[in-house]
Symmetry: C2
DNA sequence: TGTAATGATACTATAACAGTATCTTTATGT
DNA sequence: ACATAAAGATACTGTTATAGTATCATTACA
């Protein structure tokens, strides 16, 4: 079970790296060297971040990526959503259908409590807050 | 992402059913009819519960299953552990190896906080508590 | 001793995750 | 102009966990 999958993890690391680098523009080449990630996979991740407006990309020679918004505004929950879909700890399906007791199911209620806390907690995390606490 | 997988879910439903039935012994046949589950899969789940000492099985004609312990003592966390392994929200591996920043990694610390809460919460849930709150 | 139950075990299908490969487009420095 | 170094787009592949199926062996009751 993984609250955070590999591509989300890569995204977080890459974004932190870009912020810390203090450069105008950061290329995949530099990120690969700095973070020891598989290049094609990282590229795919960065392209997605660009599409979703987290990064801004520059093509051509000396191209690369820049944050499209301030690190305070990049929430981990948003990144999870981009790469993994909506945060949820359960589907609560039963034989591929929604659980027939969906309304009354006690188990669901209890897991929902845990889930709500998780979402609350993850919503409070931004790239900026990760970097701050790190120092 | 699923905190609870199908076999854990089936186990919980089956255990609740057995308690509610008030019978000396409950057969797979009855459980399948009562809970609309795929028979072979449920059988595998029940066999596992027997091996792990949650249920006690009786072979032969009129055989079936009985709780091996009181519902107050059957924790959801134990069931999750049986069918899914130790509860954890992250592996925190990086390229198949443990994340190189494992000691200092801020992200890991934050996810650990959420994880600890989840474990705490799930540890407080037993079959008995599910049945009680249900009424 | 037939039969209705569980035990044990091996096999299959599907989907998500992780990663690779390749070709296209674009901008820049010379 | 044009070679080159960057990102864009897209299709493919490998691995693992989940979810289930199928089959034969064993046991106990009536």
């Amino acid at each position: 079970m993984n609250l955070i999958t590999r591509n989300t993890d890569y995204a977080i690391r890459a974004l932190c790296y870009i912020v810390k680098s203090n450069k105008d523009i950061v290329s995949v080449k530099e990120l690969v060297e700095g973070l020891k990630m598989p290049r094609p996979f990282l590229r795919k991740v960065l392209q997605e971040l660009n599409k979703k407006g987290i990064l801004r990309s520059y093509k051509g020679k000396n191209g690369g990526f820049v944050l499209a918004t301030r690190p305070e505004n990049i929430y981990i929950s948003k990144l999870i959503e981009i790469f993994q879909g909506p945060i949820k700890l359960q589907e609560h399906t039963f034989k591929k259908k929604i659980c027939p007791e969906i309304k009354s199911c006690v188990l669901k209620k209890k897991i929902d409590e845990v889930e709500n806390y998780t979402i609350l907690k993850v919503n409070s995390l931004s790239i900026a807050s990760l970097l701050k606490t790190g120092k």
